[in-house]
C-alpha cells in the first residue's frame, strides 16, 4: 500500500478538469486523506489543454511531484503528452471516446475507460466528471460507498434528480463495468484518522479570513489570479451586511477602500501586478493620510501583462520600495493556505493598529492551488481596531481634533466621520496635527518621523520560521517565502529532512534582528525565489549585509520550482 499517489488530470480548458479534480480532492479529504493540487492553465476561456496535478496521501503535502502515478486524459493532447508526466510504473487512463495515438501509449500501461459513453448513456455528458472520478476510485481499489455521501453532498443544490443520475453512474461503474485494471497495484494506505477536512485554495482562505476578520467592504477589479477573493466576498458579504463593489479600475478600487476605511469600515482590495502598478498612488495616499487599508497582491509573471496565468514572485521591489516618496507600510508573506487565513486577519488588525497600508503578498501558486487544510482555529480569530475612537470625549472635542497628534509610538487616535467633536481634515499634502496643509521644514521633519516611527516596533514577533533538521549541524540555511516554501519543504522531505529550511512571514518591516541571529548560525544562506533579480536576497543584503554568505537561487520561467529542481540545488549546496 502506498503512502501517497499522484494523479494528473488533463483535458480541454473549460470542460471540467478543475471541477473533476476538486470533486475528487473533496471526496478523499472527507475520508481523512490530504490532497494538494497545482493548476496549469492558459489565458483563454475555452479550448487549449489544461492540467491539474494532484497529490493524495496519508500525510500533508505542500507541493506536487513532477512525475505522477496516474494520468487521467480527458482530451487527446493529454494522451499525447502523458509520457512526459508519468514515471516508469505509471498508468494512463483515457476516455474511450478519444482517439488514442497508439504510438504514444504502446510503451505504457494504458486503459481506455468509457467516461463519456457512460455519462451519455445515463443522462448527461456534463456528468463526465463523476464518471471519471469513479473510475479513478475503482483503479485505486476504493470502496464504492465513499462516493455515495460525496455525490449527495456535491449535488444537493441541484436536486434529487441530478443526485440519482450521478448515483446511477457510480453503481454502473462499480457493479456492471467489466474493465479490469490488471497489473495495477495502486492502493492508498488507510488515512491516519477518519476525519473530514475542507479543501481550500489560498484565495479562499484569504477571503474567509477577510470575512471573519471583520472586513465588510471590498472594492476590486477582476484579475487573474486574485478574482476568487472578490467573488467569494461578493457572495458572502451581503449576508453579513457588507458590500463588494466591482470598481471601474484598480485606481477606483484602492481609493474606494480608502474612503470606506476612513468612513469606519474595515476594507480590502485584491489584485495582481498590473493592478498594483495602478494602485501605487492611492497606497501612498493611505500612507500619508494614515488610513488603514489591506491590499492583497496575488503575484503573477510580469512585467506588463507578462504571463497572466503563470507564477512569479516578482513584486517584492515594487511593494517594498514602491510608490513615490516615503511612507510606512507592512508586507506579510503567508506561505501556506492556513497562513493565508490567519495572516489576512492579522493584516486587517495591523492596518488598524498601525494606520497604514498592509500588503498581503501571495503568489499564483499559493492563491490558486487547492489543498486539504488542517482545521482552522476559531479561537485565534481576534479583532483589534487599534486607537480607533468611537466617540470623542467632550473636553477633547472642544478644539479641532488632533488626528495626527505627535505621539511617542507615532500612532495617533483615529476618529471616523459622524463622531461629534472629531472634525478634522485629511489630506495627501503634508499636514500639521489637525490635518491642515503646511510646508514648514520643522513640521515636515516631525511628521515624517512620526509616521516612520509607527512600524519601528513591529518586527518583534516570530516572523522568521526555521525548521532545522533533527540534531542539525548544517552549515547552510535554505530560506524562502510564499508558495516556494511548500516546494522547499517537500524537497527537504525527499532528502529525509537532513537540511535546514526557513521561511519569512513578514517582509516589511524586515525582521532584521531575527534574520541576523539566524544567519550567524550558518556559513551560507541560500535564498530561493521566483524572480530574476533575486529580490528577497537583494532586500536582505541591503538591509543586513552578509553579502559573502548569501547565495541567490532564482527561477523566472513562469513555473514554480519543481521538487526535483530544488533537490538539485540542495545537493549542490550541502
Amino acid at each position: 500500500m502506498k503512502q501517497n499517489i499522484s494523479i494528473l488530470i488533463g483535458g480541454v480548458q473549460g470542460e471540467g478538469v478543475v471541477s473533476t479534480g476538486l470533486n475528487l480532492m473533496k471526496t478523499l479529504s472527507s475520508l481523512g486523506y490530504f490532497t494538494y493540487a497545482n493548476r496549469n492553465f492558459s489565458s483563454r476561456i475555452k479550448g487549449g489543454n489544461t492540467t491539474l496535478n494532484m497529490n493524495v496521501g496519508v500525510n500533508k503535502a505542500y507541493a506536487v511531484s513532477d512525475k505522477v502515478d496516474i494520468v487521467l486524459a480527458m482530451d487527446e493532447a493529454t494522451i499525447e503528452g502523458c509520457t512526459k508526466h508519468l514515471h516508469n510504473e505509471g498508468v494512463l487512463l483515457y476516455d474511450s471516446a478519444l482517439k488514442a495515438n497508439t504510438e504514444a501509449i504502446n510503451s505504457i500501461k494504458a486503459f481506455a475507460i468509457p467516461i463519456t459513453t457512460i455519462a451519455k448513456e445515463l443522462g448527461a455528458p456534463s456528468m463526465k466528471s463523476t464518471s471519471a472520478i469513479v473510475f479513478l476510485g475503482r483503479l485505486l481499489n476504493m470502496p464504492e460507498e465513499i462516493f455515495i455521501e460525496s455525490i449527495n453532498l456535491r449535488y444537493k443544490k441541484k436536486g434529487p434528480e441530478v443526485i440519482n443520475k450521478n448515483l446511477q453512474i457510480l453503481s454502473r461503474i462499480y457493479q456492471q463495468d467489466t474493465i479490469s485494471f490488471k497489473g495495477v497495484n495502486l492502493q492508498l494506505a488507510p488515512p491516519r484518522e477518519q476525519t473530514s477536512r475542507a479543501v481550500l485554495m489560498g484565495n479562499d482562505a484569504i477571503a474567509i479570513g477577510a470575512l471573519v476578520g471583520g472586513c465588510r467592504f471590498v472594492a476590486s477589479y477582476p484579475i487573474t489570479p486574485a478574482s476568487e477573493i472578490m467573488e467569494y466576498l461578493g457572495n458572502q458579504l451581503p449576508n453579513y451586511g457588507g458590500i463588494m463593489l466591482q470598481a471601474e479600475d484598480e485606481i477606483a478600487a484602492v481609493n474606494a477602500i480608502i474612503g470606506a476605511s476612513y468612513g469606519g469600515v474595515r476594507s480590502l482590495t485584491a489584485t495582481s501586478g498590473p493592478g498594483i502598478s495602478l494602485m501605487l498612488e492611492g497606497i501612498g495616499l493611505a500612507g500619508m493620510a494614515e488610513i488603514p487599508i489591506v491590499i492583497v497582491d496575488a503575484q503573477r509573471a510580469g512585467p506588463s501583462t507578462g504571463l497572466p496565468t503563470k507564477h512569479e514572485q516578482s513584486d517584492l521591489f515594487t511593494m517594498y520600495y514602491g510608490g513615490h516618496g516615503e511612507y510606512p507600510s507592512i508586507i506579510l508573506t503567508p506561505s501556506t493556505i492556513e497562513e493565508c487565513f490567519y495572516e489576512t486577519i492579522r493584516a486587517l488588525n495591523l492596518a488598524d493598529i498601525y494606520q497604514c497600508p498592509v500588503i498581503l503578498l501571495s503568489d499564483l501558486t499559493l492563491s490558486l492551488s487547492p489543498q486539504t487544510i488542517e482545521g482552522l482555529d476559531f479561537t485565534k480569530i481576534d479583532i483589534d481596531r487599534g486607537k480607533l475612537l468611537l466617540a470623542v470625549p467632550e473636553e477633547q472635542g472642544k478644539d479641532s481634533f488632533e488626528r495626527y497628534s505627535i505621539t511617542e509610538d507615532g500612532i495617533s487616535q483615529r476618529v471616523i466621520p459622524g463622531a461629534k467633536g472629531g472634525i478634522h481634515h485629511v489630506t495627501g499634502l503634508e499636514h500639521n496635527q489637525v490635518g491642515g496643509p503646511i510646508d514648514s521644514p520643522k513640521n515636515r521633519k516631525s511628521m515624517m518621523e512620526k509616521r516612520m516611527r509607527k512600524t519601528l516596533s513591529l518586527s518583534k514577533g516570530k516572523e522568521l520560521i526555521i525548521e532545522a533538521a533533527p540534531n542539525s549541524n548544517n552549515r547552510t540555511l535554505f530560506l524562502t517565502f510564499g508558495s516556494t516554501y511548500g516546494v522547499l519543504k517537500e524537497a527537504s522531505k525527499a532528502c529525509n529532512a537532513t537540511i535546514d529550511i526557513g521561511k519569512i512571514k513578514m517582509l516589511k518591516p524586515l525582521p532584521c534582528k531575527e534574520l541576523e541571529a539566524a544567519f550567524n548560525q550558518y556559513e551560507s544562506i541560500v535564498i530561493v525565489e521566483n524572480n530574476y533579480y533575486g529580490q528577497l536576497s537583494k532586500i536582505i543584503k541591503s538591509e543586513l549585509g552578509y553579502h559573502n554568505k548569501i547565495r541567490s537561487v532564482v527561477k523566472y520561467d513562469g513555473n514554480p520550482y519543481s521538487i526535483d529542481e530544488l533537490m538539485e540545488e540542495i545537493g549542490g549546496s550541502n
Binding site: 475542507a198 451586511g241 471601474e248 477606483a252
Partner: protein
C-alpha cells in the same frame, strides 16, 4: 437652526481675489445650513487643484485626496456610512481629464452623493494649462499655438450616460447655485452640479461677462420640463450647453437602495463578532 458660519473654519482660502470658487464654497455652506445638516455628519471629499482646497475650508469632516479620485473616495465614504451626507468636489481637470472615467461610473453606479464641479475651463494651480473643457484655439502655456482639441461637454455626456440629477450653475448667480445644491443633496442618488466658476488669472476668454452674455437661465423659461429627457437633450444642443438650472432629474433607486434593506445598519456600525457555528458553516462549504 444652523447658519453658514457653522460650516466655516475661518481659514482664509488661498484662491486669487475674484475667483469663482469663493462663491461655491459659500453656497455649499449656506445649503448645508438650510438643510440643517449636523456638521459632523457632513463630509466633503475633494481632489487636487485650486478647487481641491475647498474641503480644507469647511468646518466639517474633509478629505483631500489625490488628483482625479475624489469620486471613488466619496463613494467609499458613503457606502461605509449611509447616514453621512457626502459631497465630492473638484475641478474640471479632476472630473473630466484624469478622473473622467470615475465620473461616468459614479453616474451609472448612482451612489447617493453630490458631485460639484468647480469648472473654470483651465488648469490654474499648475499656472495656466489647457483643460479638456477649454475651447478650441484657447492659448495657454501648454497650447502656445492654441488648443486644437475639441472640448468635452460635461452636461451632454452626463445626460447621455443616464445621470439622475444634472444641474448647471454659475458662481455669480449665487441664489440659484444655493438652491441647486440644496436640491442636489436632497436628490436620492448621484447628483452632478457643473458650476461655471471663472478663473480671473488664467482664463481671459470665459470671464464673468462672457458667461453673463451667454448663459440661458432655465428657471426663467416657463415651458421647460426637467423631467423630459428629450427636451433636456435638445436644450443642451440649443444652448451649446451654456444654460443654468436643473437640466434633468429622474427618480430611481440608488445603489444602496438596490443592495440593502432601508433599515439595515451602516457598514461602519456593524457588529463584527462571528459565532463558531457560522464559522464552521463557512468551512463546511469547502468540503
Amino acid at each position: 437652526m444652523a447658519t453658514m458660519k457653522d460650516y466655516s473654519n475661518n481659514i482664509s482660502p488661498n484662491w486669487c481675489p475674484g475667483c469663482g470658487h469663493f462663491s461655491i464654497l459659500r453656497a455649499i455652506q449656506i445649503a448645508a445650513a438650510q438643510l440643517d445638516i449636523p456638521k459632523e455628519s457632513l463630509v466633503v471629499a475633494t481632489g487636487i487643484g485650486c478647487s481641491g482646497r475647498l474641503s480644507g475650508y469647511m468646518d466639517t469632516y474633509g478629505f483631500h485626496g489625490i488628483h482625479g479620485r475624489s469620486l471613488p473616495v466619496a463613494q467609499g465614504i458613503k457606502l461605509a456610512n449611509k447616514d453621512l451626507t457626502v459631497i465630492a468636489a473638484g475641478g474640471d481637470g479632476d472630473g473630466f481629464a484624469i478622473g473622467l472615467s470615475h465620473t461616468h461610473h459614479a453616474i451609472r453606479r448612482n451612489v447617493d452623493i453630490t458631485y460639484i464641479v468647480l469648472n473654470n475651463q483651465v488648469y490654474g494651480l499648475t499656472k495656466g494649462h489647457t483643460s479638456p473643457l477649454s475651447h478650441k484655439s484657447f492659448k495657454t502655456k501648454s497650447t502656445p499655438y492654441g488648443s486644437v482639441e475639441a472640448p468635452i461637454l460635461p452636461a451632454m455626456i452626463a445626460l447621455a450616460n443616464g445621470a439622475g440629477f444634472l444641474a448647471q450653475a454659475f458662481s455669480a448667480y449665487q441664489e440659484q447655485l444655493v438652491d441647486i445644491i440644496v436640491k442636489a443633496i436632497q436628490h436620492k442618488g448621484f447628483s452632478l452640479v457643473n458650476v461655471y466658476s471663472p478663473c480671473v488669472t488664467y482664463n481671459k476668454i470665459n470671464t464673468y461677462q462672457w458667461f453673463r452674455d451667454k448663459l440661458v437661465d432655465l428657471d426663467q423659461a416657463n415651458d421647460y420640463d426637467n423631467k423630459d429627457f428629450q427636451r433636456a437633450m435638445n436644450k443642451l444642443i440649443e444652448t451649446d450647453c451654456l444654460c443654468t438650472g436643473i437640466i434633468y432629474e429622474k427618480k430611481e433607486a440608488s445603489y444602496l437602495d438596490l443592495l440593502q434593506a432601508k433599515d439595515s445598519s451602516p457598514l461602519s456600525k456593524l457588529a463584527l463578532d462571528f459565532s463558531i457555528e457560522e464559522f464552521n458553516k463557512l468551512i463546511e462549504d469547502f468540503k
